[in-house]
């Protein structure tokens, strides 16, 4: 089947097998390296991307289902070399070690902040329940999300992004 997907601002039209998962389309056809596969049961969240602005596990979506959609991956977050505030917060709070879960965690975190711009610790933990990290014990991830929430607040004087 022929599908057209806009990924990180660029539009791609490709022939795909009906059974192809979005994550494999992103990785194998479009050449994205940030969205990764950590499991085959939709449990780990490593493959999380935004599909029309909502976070999804791209291993549980068929590529054909994304026809006509807008997909954002970790690679499409930074603008003009300036990191997204959530990316910046992960860096600032040492919220990653090996970094394998990180793209999925960041994509999920952005989505959860869209739902609740000022989450308490419990809300963050629940919001990230579907994303597994084996390295960090989550504490710094939770801290990063709350830190990003502060920086994203309207009227916040905290600088966002930039290295």
């Amino acid at each position: 089947m022929r599908i057209t997907v806009t990924v990180d601002g660029t539009t791609y039209t490709d022939e795909v097998e009906p059974r192809k998962l979005l994550v494999h389309h992103l990785r194998e056809t479009i050449g994205k390296t940030g969205t990764v596969v950590g499991c085959d049961t939709s449990n780990c969240g490593s493959c999380t991307v935004h599909l029309n602005g909502q976070s999804v596990k791209s291993c549980s979506v068929l590529a054909v289902q994304a026809d006509g959609a807008e997909v954002t991956t970790i690679e499409g977050l930074a603008r003009d070399g300036v990191l997204h505030p959530v990316q910046q917060a992960f860096h600032d709070n040492h919220a990653l070690q090996c970094g394998f879960c990180t793209p999925g965690m960041i994509m999920q975190s952005i989505d959860l902040l869209a739902d609740d711009p000022d989450p308490d610790e419990d809300t963050v933990r629940h919001g990230l329940e579907g994303n597994l990290c084996r390295c960090t014990g989550y504490q710094n991830i939770v801290r990063a999300v709350q830190d990003a929430a502060q920086k994203l607040k309207p009227g916040s004087h905290q600088p966002v992004g930039g290295q």
């Binding site: 990764v36 596969v37 449990n43 991956t73 992960f90 970094g99 629940h126 390295c135 960090t136």
Partner: protein, 811 residues
């Protein structure tokens, strides 16, 4: 160049590594490709023990996109036997371990055939077309049964399921007294059998390997912790000349010991790529990973602790059964042996005997997993100390204090013959108690008990030490390990003044690039940003022993420091020559050589440029400003700490909730506090997971019933508490940096702290043991007087050693 006023070491530097990881510009092995790449998929045995009577691959060969299909027999000559580098005894029994099974399978998940296809999906599709006939053999799963007379055998040709029997006896070694005497003289005996359940390392990046044989050298990219060891072992296993192999560990997504391996799939990938003359890649699915990447722990520990009524511990006897699984992988037999030296922990009891039988079963092989041997040992002694405290009606911390090595008694030679260099258990414990609010929580616990609250409070403590920095080569030699424990590094000061650091230590999330840059920036007086750390490629970093056993900083960074010293020495000679003074007249600080008592100086950067130009060098000095060094420690390092955990146990449901977790770790000098804290958090998560969630379970036919991440419960953010962490700092004296190592501390200490807390919460119901993981079912059953091993362990529940009564008891 300006002198950095503030030292880099000790600074909370944000990590250099993050830039690529948070933007998705990563080089995971599965992200890589080369022209003409083919894909591999493995067919795995669904049965745990069987003869292979036939394999028919004809149909698979004709499936779309399939290039070739190989069985174990097809590759028999080329694949060799997978290496085990640790013969712990001279008579250790080791089966042949083919990468692809030839005529028999010995665990469910063992690979029996491999498909090579143009695409990954095509390779997997073709697996379905392979017909294998199996003739079932009796399945051996339980360690205790496996060593009983007349047991069915995993490897009939070995004639036994016992791989080796290894003993340490302090009386025989001359390091302590006779434990049988201590037991005979004891006023109190605590006898228990604990089970270390089987765990799965479950690194998040599945294993992946890409082999390209089309160049002059064959290049192997692998998600491995051990590129250097892997290169040697692949050469020895397959007969590929070592100088024709280059191994690269690109970005690696976690290891935890699980990627400390020469895997069957790496060997097969190399053999197949070589045979076809084409590049091949294999990336495992998560289910394959859980099934076939090695597992960890899995011991039955039979323990006797001898003590006097006044609380003084007088001896410990340990009898272990350690499950090897079906084969001996790289360091499988040595894992319990590492633990042998840690059962005495921080205590100074005088008599100790450790005996271990390594046992074969029809399960996935075990090998290193975060802490390897030391968590198992620490768990046992810390549980026993709690049981002794309960028996004597003593406060568990106070009882520990009575028995531990006091601050002013260091250096201290233990009953195992190890010399602990430094430690201050008092300081860490006092700080932890204070942060925890120990007395208030104890008061609340009493109050809840008295009022018969449905939710009971339990408090658990764990005081620990570990031997880090594997290891002094001579010690490894004395334990018959096949390699040394040194590490290698090189430093190159480039003509522009930028610095390349090459390290044999290969990172997979530990932040070497940042920490090493901090150390070198201080030492050479160059900006942090001007240091680049190269690792994980046998071409750029030709020598090394890689990353495991919390050895990166204590051994690896020490090698960097040694290389830096040599660079400074050489630069000093050149600086003296250009400034026409004696070398002794030069002081080096902040990146500058200054003639003592004058303003005259030259920077290291100037020297680097002068060396490059080579217009005027002292006689006999080569035009380069670089150096290499190896470091082999004289001793291990011994981090320690005190962890305190409060749990709330719902006595109606058995559900355990961690209410508070406090730990104070002493990891010596801290290079980067945020990295240290991160490592502690991650370690705690894995230790807590052993206590409460994770267990690899097999059914009676040997099938892994926890074969997906839906069944094997890696905790998520909701399952783990907030950790309150802090530190004390007692520098190690076994290395110049004063560092001790941190990667495994959290895992080692936390498991007993949590289980002690759970048992403490319900002890007044007559409970004195709960099998890990302490699931609601097990906790509920224990409260209600049932066997403590209920709750999903199946046929091998509790795994007692025959005659021992697991309900414990006091003589």
């Amino acid at each position: 160049m300006t002198a950095t006023a503030e030292p880099e070491v000790g600074k909370a530097r944000l990590r250099k590594e993050d830039a690529r990881l948070i933007t998705g510009r990563t080089r995971w092995t599965d992200n890589l490709s080369v022209p003409g790449l083919l894909h591999l998929a493995f067919l795995r045995s669904p049965v745990a023990h069987a003869k292979i009577t036939s394999i028919d691959v004809e149909e698979a060969r004709h499936r779309p996109g399939v290039i070739a299909v190989f069985t174990g027999r097809d590759l028999a000559e080329a694949q060799g036997s997978l290496p085990c580098a640790w013969p712990i005894t001279a008579d250790q029994k080791a089966p042949t371990a083919p990468s692809l099974a030839v005529d028999q399978v010995n665990f469910a998940g063992e690979a029996v055939a491999v498909v090579v296809a143009r695409g990954n999906a095509e390779a997997h599709d073709a697996l379905e077309a392979i017909e294998v006939e199996y003739e079932d053999l009796p399945v051996v799963l339980d360690m205790t049964a496996a060593v009983a007379d007349g047991a069915d055998l995993v490897h009939a040709d070995l004639g036994t399921n016992k791989s080796a029997h290894w003993v340490f006896d302090s009386a025989e070694a001359g390091t302590g007294g006779d434990v049988e005497q201590a037991i005979a003289d004891a006023e109190v005996l605590i006898e228990r059998t604990y089970r270390q359940q089987r765990l799965i390392p479950a690194f998040m990046e599945p294993r992946s390997v890409l082999v390209d044989p089309t160049g002059e050298q064959t290049t192997v990219w692998s998600a491995t912790q051990i590129p250097h060891i892997l290169r040697l072992m692949l050469a020895l296993t397959t007969g590929t000349p070592e100088h024709k192999l280059r191994v690269i560990a690109p970005d690696v997504g976690g290891g935890f010991g699980g990627k400390l391996q020469v895997t069957p799939e790496e060997v097969v990938s190399l053999v197949v790529a070589t045979r076809l003359g084409k590049p091949v890649k294999w990336t495992e699915t998560r289910s394959e990973s859980l099934l076939s990447a090695h597992h960890g722990r899995d011991q039955v520990q039979k323990l006797t602790l001898a003590a006097r009524r006044d609380g003084t511990v007088t001896g410990l006897k340990v009898d272990l059964l350690a499950d090897m699984g079906a084969y001996l992988r790289l360091v499988t037999p040595g894992v319990p042996i590492l633990g042998a030296f840690m059962f005495n922990a921080i205590y100074k009891f005088p008599a100790y005997r450790f005996a271990c039988t390594n046992v074969f079963t029809n399960k996935t092989p075990t090998d290193a997993y975060r802490g390897a041997g030391r968590p198992e040992a620490t768990f046992a002694i810390e549980r026993l100390m709690d049981e002794l405290a309960a028996e004597l009606g003593r406060d568990p911390i106070e009882l520990r204090e009575q028995n531990w090595i006091k601050h002013d008694e260091f250096p201290f030679t233990t009953v195992c013959g190890l010399e602990y260099d430094t430690g201050n258990y008092e300081a860490a414990t006092a700080k932890a108690k204070e942060m925890f609010g120990y007395d208030a929580l104890r008061a609340e616990q009493r109050e809840r008990r008295e009022r018969g609250d449905v939710v009971q409070l339990g408090i658990g403590t764990s005081t620990f030490t570990e031997m880090c920095g594997l290891a002094p080569s001579r010690v490894l030699g004395s334990l018959s390990y096949g390699a040394g424990g040194w590490e290698h590094a090189a430093i190159r000061v480039l003509p522009s003044g930028k610095v390349e650091v090459v390290t044999g230590s290969s990172a997979h999330g530990q932040g070497h690039e940042t920490a090493w840059s901090q150390i070198v920036a201080d030492q050479l007086g160059v900006p942090f940003e001007d240091v680049e750390v190269l690792h994980g490629d046998t071409q750029s970093s030709p020598k090394g022993l890689d990353t495991y056993g919390s050895r990166s900083l204590t051994v690896g960074a020490m090698a960097v420091l040694k290389a830096g010293e040599k660079v400074i020495r050489k630069a000093r000679r050149i600086a003296a020559h250009t400034m026409e003074c004696a070398e002794d007249d030069l002081e080096f600080s902040g990146g500058k050589f200054t003639v003592k008592g004058t303003e005259r100086s030259t920077g290291l950067t100037d020297v680097a440029l002068a060396v490059f130009a080579a217009h005027d060098l002292p006689d006999g000095v080569e035009p380069s400003l670089d150096s290499e060094a190896t470091f082999d420690p004289d001793n291990f390092s011994f981090p320690h700490g005190t962890h305190l955990c409060a749990v709330e146990v719902d006595t109606e449901t058995g559900f355990v909730k961690i209410r508070k977790y406090v730990c104070v770790d002493d990891v010596g000098v801290v290079v980067n506090p945020i990295i240290v804290e991160g490592q502690v958090h991650g370690g705690l998560a894995q230790g807590l997971a052993q206590a409460l969630y994770e267990e690899a379970v097999h059914d009676e036919s040997g099938t892994l019933t926890t074969g997906t991440l839906a069944d094997y419960l890696v905790p998520s953010a909701v399952d783990l508490p907030h950790f309150d962490t802090d530190r004390t700092e007692t520098p190690s004296t076994t290395n110049q940096l004063g560092v001790k190592g941190v990667g495994e501390a959290g895992t080692i200490a936390s498991t007993p702290a949590v289980v002690n807390a759970v048992v403490d919460a319900v002890r007044h119901y007559g409970v004195n043991d709960i099998q890990m993981p302490c699931t609601p079912m097990r906790v509920w059953t224990a409260i209600n007087g049932g066997p403590t091993d209920a709750g999903g362990l199946g046929g091998e529940a509790g795994g007692g050693l025959g005659s021992i009564d697991t309900s414990g008891g006091v003589a």
